[in-house]
């Protein structure tokens, strides 16, 4: 029998007997805050109408939210006959969310407000192959640099986009430990290190998932509810937004289309191996060596390395062999995506990744294959475009993941009375656990020196 409420396995206070005032107020506070935050209601009258709460209760709850600094009622709206109504706005500036993208070749960091708007970002080259501890150290240095530049750094959360599926049964409010996203990650407690260094809850999502969310909220997805996002790089993955939210599947492993087998002539391999950037680079090298591509051969003579980007640039400049390589990649990707489109009937397909974004040929070939293989009803209003957000979509999407996590009713109800997510009992538990393990394991969990 647990001796305290928080010692229960689900981490929530025991609800028994007469509820405390904080418990009765919390659900209505959650409802009202989310109505204001999502701009479904912007005046007291609208809040009363949507929440079906009485005027006195709404006034009381708004008072509480105002004291917590989560809403702002200083602005006046347009009068509709009579006095101008006081606008109720979400105080997105109350807190900050640190966001990062860990890519195969780059690390991106940024800071967003509580509405998920990116305020600042920075990207630099980094090798994912380096030890996770070194990556974490750089991440922490850059996070500290960004926090220093914020006037009032009230940190509410950290959200990171990682280059692999994040296993999740869908019930976790936030990350309680470091999942084995990539080989080697199990051995380094990235999540625990971040919690210890910054005292804020951490969310992890795959890069395709965050990019899908970013594109849906701040990029090409504007106003659409069903979007298929395809990232073409060394790996090829897809993300699905349905009804404005990310579809995560049973284990958070949606869209691993890179492992679908495809066939070209007598060769069969996975989509990643037959159309990804490694394949493009490899075919480019072969074309250069055999004299099929004068531009790439010239590159090689000058001692430059041929990557997929060089092949894409050569194709853009009219090099026939490079055009063929990219067109084939585009066709293969298009064939696989067409199957998905027929199944899911998206309003929009966005192709992302540096090759797709800088090259017309891959996009054109993919489009041709998709439109050609889709049912007329599916392709009638289907738009296929390239992403315009670059790596920013990962950062914006990571911020959206954190805001949705922070303000999800199941999470919010247990921190709203304190005004800070750090007060959530489950977060306290995670911190206690980290502290306990730290004592047990000596200094192995100490955040890296920066």
């Amino acid at each position: 029998m647990p001796t305290t409420a928080t010692a229960q396995t689900d981490g929530y206070p025991r609800r028994k007997g007469r509820p405390r005032v904080s418990e009765t107020a919390a659900p209505s506070l959650v409802d009202i805050l989310n109505l204001v935050r999502t701009e479904q209601a912007t005046t007291r009258q609208e809040i009363e109408r949507h929440s079906e709460l009485g005027r006195a209760v709404v006034a009381d709850r708004l008072g509480t939210l105002g004291e917590l600094g989560l809403i702002d009622e200083s602005e006046l709206g347009t009068p509709t006959g009579g006095r101008a109504p006081r606008l109720v706005r979400f105080a997105a500036d109350r807190g900050r969310i640190l966001v990062a993208t860990l890519d195969q070749t780059a690390i991106g960091v940024g800071v967003a407000d509580l509405a998920g708007s990116l305020l600042m970002e920075h990207h630099e080259a980094a090798e994912l192959a380096q030890p996770v501890s070194a990556l974490a150290e750089r991440l922490i240095t850059l996070f500290r640099w960004i926090l220093e530049r914020q006037a009032d750094p009230q940190l509410y959360g950290i959200s990171i986009s990682v280059p692999g599926a994040v296993p999740d049964g869908g019930e976790a409010l936030f990350q309680r430990s470091t999942p084995g996203v990539l080989p080697g990650w199990e051995s380094f407690p990235l999540v625990e290190t971040l919690i210890a260094a910054f005292d804020a809850p951490v969310w992890l999502r795959s890069s395709v998932e965050t990019m899908t969310m970013g594109e849906l909220h701040a990029g090409a997805g504007g106003g659409r509810n069903t979007m298929l996002f395809v990232k073409v790089g060394k790996r090829i993955g897809a993300g699905l937004a349905n009804d404005g939210a990310l579809f995560r599947g049973a284990q958070g492993a949606v869209g691993l289309i890179g492992s679908v087998p495809v066939t070209v002539g007598d060769r069969t391999g996975t989509l990643e191996a037959m159309a990804g950037s490694d394949h493009i680079a490899q075919d480019g090298k072969v074309a250069a060596e055999h004299g099929a591509s004068p531009i790439l051969a010239e590159h090689m003579r000058r001692g430059s390395e041929i990557t997929a980007l060089e092949v894409a640039q050569a194709a853009q400049m009219g090099d026939a062999a490079a055009i063929d390589i990219l067109a084939q990649s585009g066709r293969l990707i298009g064939q696989v995506v067409a199957t998905l489109a027929n199944m899911l009937n998206p309003a929009l397909i966005v192709l992302s990744g540096s090759i797709a974004q800088t090259n017309d040929i891959l996009l054109a070939a993919a489009r041709e294959a998709i439109y050609g293989a889709c049912h007329p009803l599916v392709s009638r209003d289907l738009q296929i475009i390239r992403s315009q957000m670059g790596s920013s979509s990962g950062l914006v999407g990571a911020a959206i993941v954190a805001t949705e996590g922070l303000f999800a009713p199941a999470m919010l109800r247990d921190w709203i009375m304190a005004g800070r997510p750090q007060a959530h009992p489950l977060f306290q538990q995670v911190k206690d656990e980290i502290a306990r393990r730290k004592t047990m394991e000596g200094n192995s969990l100490r955040p890296p020196d920066v």
Binding site: T101, D103, A106, G108, S117, L118, L119, M120, E121, H122, H123, E124, A125, T141, L142, W145, E148, R149, A218, G219, L309, Q313, Q316, S354, Q357, T358, D360, R386, Q388, M389, G390, S391, S392
Partner: protein
Amino acid sequence: MAITGLGPHGERASAPERVLLLPEDMARARASGFRVAIVLHTLASDWAKQQLSGIVGMLGNCGVAVIDVVDCAFTPEVQIEALERLIGEAPNAIISLPVANSKVAAAHARVAAAGIKLVLLDNVPTGLLPGKDYISLVSADNFGLGKIAAEGLSPHLPDGAEVGVLGYDADFFATNEREIAFVKWMQINRPDVTLRMRRFPALSEVAKTTRNLAEAHPGLAGLFVVWDTPAMTAAQVLETMGRRISMATVDLGQEAAIGLAASEPLVAIAAQQPFRQGETAASIVVTALLGRLAPAWVALPGLAVTARNVVECFQTVWRMPAPREVLRKLSLVGPEK
């Protein structure tokens, strides 16, 4: 020299050769009668003048008329007003250097929304996207500039030295990148060095910030300042305080070149190439107006300048002979009679 940094949205840099204009491109542009307006942060600095002459010259070669050149005097309000007015004039393209971040973002977004091609110099307000809100960003490899400055300053630092970093307290892509790169290089290559960070909010605060930094850390052996104008102010302040500190900065201004020739207090400069940056911005405008896809970020490498190569670098950057005083300090001409 390779580009070491990434673009404002993590883009890989494209070389200026990507937007090279062929004679037939120029002929097509000449036949089209395009009109372009230019909005700069200032017209007073050597850097801005050089960049402007690069832009105007290249546009002239392509028969493109420059209908206005606006000096925003580092003021967001002036820039917003100028952009509003220019949208009314409906030029085919606007080349702008955003003087702030979120404050001027909406005004720049309205340019593209009005169907006018926008090419940005040096800075992208957060939230603006290439291909949607603007065509391309042209800048120096600012991350590379910070690295060059660190590499140049390092040999002048004794073991275990304390080094000051004077950053710019504004959210500006170029200066942020220089600061991050300088600090990163030092942390990796000179772990013995202790960095002391200060940021100035405006040029008028540089003297005060420098004095605070120098007083708080009497053992300071080196100083990095994110561009040359504040660096020269800092140098004066340190001189009046009787402090001899080796300095590194970015941009080869006249005064900075003189200081570098004397190897005191400046020992290293990472120089941008404003004339080439200007020419590149103009080439991108023409590329976009001819309906071709332009890369999201075109970056030009920086030059590593020390007393040894200051004369030729000055000529490369400014397209004019180095100041007489530089030549005298290096004994390339006789003393003044």
